[in-house]
């Protein structure tokens, strides 16, 4: 190797406290160094030109620049040496500004330190190898997992962006939580009215394939080339024939199945369409409730169906999708307040959760929009809202704030006033979190214009006395114990990752936080990316958020996926792990430690197993390199030899020339 060393003065930034000439001179005593020179501004155009000229004229095969932080200019110099025909990875930097000249005024010590850093850089460079980026094809198709508002937004944006999209929804209709809401805050406009058209767009968009009543079974492959198996759960209704007329629902004799769409406030038929605006508007049979499927009797729906769509023999179907990017938008589940025994949810009929209340408020809900006590169907006189149920509660392992409940409660309190003008409305709260546009004003309106009484304090217990539900708590502002005889208690429940989120995370090889929310690539800078290239996050699956944030993130995730798939070929970063199959003993430790699932074991022609890195997936962290005992797997550009060369250069007694 013929190495050129360029020591930057950086004006006086370096030269003031480092003797750059001495550093250059010491470099001339280093192995393979054929040329060493000080440069006024190495990164400037003349500086870069000098480097390029030296490469060309002197036949340099490697370059070290001692200047600022590589985080600043590594790419600059890599491009410069590349322009002179050198592989950009035959370049190293020694940081003698941020780590040397700027942190000490001791010129002698700085000069020595700079010389040693140059020595380490040269020694590393001697172990470098030119690396090539590899290019690979991509599938110009995306998958969105979860058809709530975030997933819908992502799917629509992706489809509008020109990609084809597969949208996978677990329920028989898209819409998610938002479809269950009556109104949205802070505008109090109709949830279905704003979501419905989007749902229709999904159904009608030529670029979108909708898989409702389906789940992701498995995911293999890597960015640009995912292969996803989708399980279409049996609906027992041939959707190609079903027109959504609803005749089957009318005739179905089984009417005691839980109505999941209405949050079990009511029961429903075994066959049916969950709600009038459902997309797709197709019937599904609940096999647990259907008399034919459970007891072998009945079959009324098959008789009445005008298109003969009923198929009791239907089985789950597997569909293989090839996609280039995946957006996870699996949303959240509401917290089950039964875990808080002191609130009596599930035991006292007039204690319901906020989503149930939302269904009660809805004109299409089980009470057709009438606010009633579930125990006797009478209109309540006193309605109590309890906030932070299942949120900010360390004892439940939920220290986080769910974010949307304060506003939802305010909205529901306001709506309660509209439905029951005389009601006494009390909200127990700990803090009010209303930071977004128009939120704080909305809460104030609830208090001031709608006469909602906000009591600051935690509810200690809720119990039943006669036909009343007593809420006991403390008003910490007044410093007094409070007991309220309520007719209806609404628990403002928080959220948690949706059921199956962890399993999906494993399939997607993305990580989850301690609660099960998906981890973003970086909390600030990569909020919709994950550490698995090609997998993006939208909505509450990443962390609880309200509708506008979910929609924004859906669009953001779509934009990221569009950027990714806008290219015909993807380039992989060549700083990836590489396996020497001769050394590999196939123990798979690398596979188990890789955070990205980038390594797999493959069989050799001798029948043994060796590890193989999927370059496109590897992010280059090097965790595998350490786990590998015989060092068969090496992270390119940070190989053991390269790091050891630096260690040796800095530690061992140095035998200089002459």
């Amino acid at each position: 190797m013929k190495i050129g060393v360029f020591v930057c003065l950086c004006g006086s930034n370096i030269a003031a406290t480092v003797d750059v000439e001495t550093v250059a001179e010491s470099a001339r005593g280093l192995p393979d160094v054929a040329y060493a020179k000080a440069e006024m501004y190495a990164c400037s155009e003349p500086g870069q030109a000098a480097i390029r000229a030296a490469i060309e004229e002197r036949g340099l095969t490697g370059v070290v620049v001692a200047s600022c932080s590589p985080r600043m200019h590594e790419n600059t110099f890599r491009r410069a040496v590349e322009r002179a025909g050198l592989n950009p990875y035959l370049f190293e930097m020694a940081n003698i500004r941020e780590h040397v000249s700027w942190v000490s005024l001791d010129k002698a010590a700085n000069t020595r330190k700079a010389s040693e850093l140059v020595r380490a850089a040269v020694e590393k460079l001697r172990c470098n190898r030119g690396l090539q980026r590899s290019r690979f094809d991509v599938h110009k198709r995306a998958m969105v997992v979860g058809g709530g508002v975030a997933g819908i937004q992502a799917a629509l944006d992706l489809a509008e962006g020109g990609l084809t999209v597969a949208l996978v929804e677990r329920e028989s209709s898209i819409g998610g939580k938002m479809a269950k809401l009556d109104k949205t805050f802070p505008t109090v406009d109709c949830s279905t009215c704003i979501l419905g058209p989007k749902m229709v767009d999904v159904a009608q968009h030529p670029n979108i394939t909708l898989y409702a009543h389906s789940e992701v079974e498995s995911v293999s492959g890597y960015v640009g080339n995912f292969s996803v198996k989708v399980r279409r759960r049996a609906t027992f209704v041939d959707w190609t024939k079903c027109t959504g007329c609803g005749l089957c629902m009318e005739k179905c004799p089984s009417r005691k199945g839980p109505d999941r769409f209405n949050e079990r406030l009511a029961t429903t038929t075994a066959i049916g369409i969950p709600f009038p605006q459902a997309i797709p508007k197709k019937a599904t049979i609940d096999p647990d409730a259907c008399l034919r499927l459970t007891k072998g009797k009945c079959g009324v729906c098959a008789k009445v169906c005008p298109t003969g769509a009923i198929d009791f023999e239907m089985a789950d179907e597997m569909i293989e999708e090839e996609v280039g990017a995946i957006v996870a938008a699996t949303g959240y589940d509401v917290f089950d307040p039964a875990a808080c025994a002191e609130y009596g949810a599930g035991r006292h009929p007039d204690v319901i959760n906020s989503l149930q209340y939302e269904r009660m408020l809805s004109a299409s809900g089980p009470t057709r929009g009438h606010v009633v006590r579930p125990s006797d169907g009478r209109e309540p006189g006193t309605v109590v809202f309890v906030q932070c149920v299942g949120s900010r509660d360390l004892s439940l392992g939920r220290p986080y704030c769910s974010g949307f409940c304060c506003m939802a409660t305010a909205k529901q309190a306001v709506l309660t006033r509209d439905h029951v003008p005389d009601a006494e409305i009390i909200v127990f709260y700990i803090d009010i979190r209303a930071p977004q546009k128009g939120y704080e004003e909305f809460v104030n309106r609830a208090r001031e214009e709608y006469g909602v009484r906000y009591c600051r304090g935690r509810v200690s217990s809720i119990y039943r006395v006669g036909d009343k539900t007593v809420v006991r708590g403390a008003d910490t502002l007044l410093g007094a114990q409070m007991e309220v005889e309520a007719d209806l208690v609404v628990l403002a429940v928080g959220g948690q990752p949706s059921e199956g989120a962890r399993a999906l995370a494993e399939k997607l090889r993305i990580s989850s936080d301690q609660y099960g929310f998906f981890m973003e690539g970086h909390p600030k800078l990569r909020p919709v990316e994950t550490n698995t290239a090609g997998v993006f996050l939208a909505g509450a699956c990443q962390g609880l958020k309200d509708i506008p944030s979910s929609v924004a993130q859906g669009s953001a995730a779509a934009a990221k996926a569009l950027v990714l798939l806008s290219r015909d070929k993807l380039e992989s970063d060549p700083q990836v792990a590489r396996v020497n199959p001769k050394r590999c003993i196939g123990c798979g430790k690398c596979v188990s430690v890789c955070p990205f699932g980038a390594i797999r074991l493959v069989e050799t022609r001798f029948g043994t197993q060796v590890a193989e890195v999927v370059e496109a997936v590897c992010q280059g962290c090097g965790v595998c390199n350490v786990a590998c005992m015989d060092k068969a797997i090496q992270l390119d550009h940070f190989t053991d030899d390269q790091i050891l060369a630096e260690v040796n250069a800095l530690c061992r007694e140095w035998r200089v020339a002459n």
Binding site: M1, K2, P31, G59, T61
Partner: protein, 278 residues
């Protein structure tokens, strides 16, 4: 202190030319820095030398320039390990060490007057080149010449230009073969031993000299015997077994024979006397 020659001491040399033969093979031309040492450097075809890359170590290579052309010493190097990788990174003007000549040589005296069949595979062409050039430089002393040279793909042939020159000569038959059909290749296809059997060279009056990977040698020798080449008439070289090169380190033994001292060139007849340990 007794003044005896230090058998470990290389002579400093400088690379004067590098030829990229294939993606994995380079040829290095080296002259010793001491002009007198260069003049004193006497060897015969088949002898080897240890090339040093200081800091990486030494490795054994056949000197594949013939002793009849002493402008430089030529070594052809397949990149396999640390030393060869470091060698490949060197260029014109870089310094190496040369320790040699070492070992015995092809039995040129016995070959005189005979027909010669060269059978080479891959990097194994290098030792054959030395002998072939030596023979061509003393063309009148030898009978008919034939060369069968096999490589994995058309890109893996070394000495491209020379091959063309030899191919154009009337006094030598050159056949090249690759392991598998390849685009743009109109030469022979097939493994060396198979092609050899197809060619059916005459054993009468002929000595075969073969070199290549161990598996190829094994089957080539079998094919040659089938064709009627007697064990005395099959010559090969085992220089890949050599370690220290001077008979001291002990690691190249085959039975009581040390390849570096008693070889590396052996006839099949000589090998037949040794245990099957190579």
């Amino acid at each position: 202190m007794s003044k005896r020659a230090n058998p470990y001491l290389p002579q400093p040399g400088t690379i004067i030319d590098v030829v990229e033969e294939t993606p994995a093979i380079k040829t290095f031309r080296v002259v010793l820095d001491d002009p007198e040492a260069m003049l004193d450097f006497r060897f015969l075809p088949g002898q080897v030398a240890q090339l040093s890359v200081f800091g990486a170590g030494e490795a054994t290579f056949v000197i594949n320039s013939p002793p009849t052309r002493m402008e430089y010493l030529q070594f052809t190097v397949l990149r396999t390990g640390e030393v060869t990788a470091r060698l490949h990174a060197l260029g014109v003007g870089d310094h190496v060490g040369v320790r040699g000549p070492l070992g015995n040589h092809f039995p040129v005296a016995q070959l005189r007057g005979r027909d010669l069949l060269f059978v080479g595979g891959g990097i194994g062409m290098a030792p054959l080149r030395t002998l072939l050039l030596y023979v061509l430089d003393n063309r009148a002393d030898f009978g008919h010449l034939a060369l069968l040279y096999g490589a994995r793909t058309p890109q893996d042939f070394c000495f491209g230009e020379e091959l063309a020159t030899w191919g154009a000569r009337r006094d030598i038959d050159v056949v090249r073969t690759v392991d598998a059909p390849a685009e743009g290749w109109d030469g022979r296809v097939g493994l060396v031993p198979h092609v050899l059997e197809e060619l059916r060279p005459t054993a009468e009056g002929c000595t075969a000299v073969t070199c290549g990977p161990p598996v190829m040698i094994r089957f080539t020798v079998q094919a040659l015997e089938k064709l009627g080449f007697g064990p005395e008439r099959i010559v090969t070289t085992l220089e890949r077994r050599m370690k220290c090169g001077v008979g001291l380190c002990g690691r190249c033994n085959i039975g009581s024979v040390l390849v570096c001292r008693d070889g590396p060139v052996f006839t099949k007849a000589e090998l037949d006397l040794l245990p099957n340990d190579y």
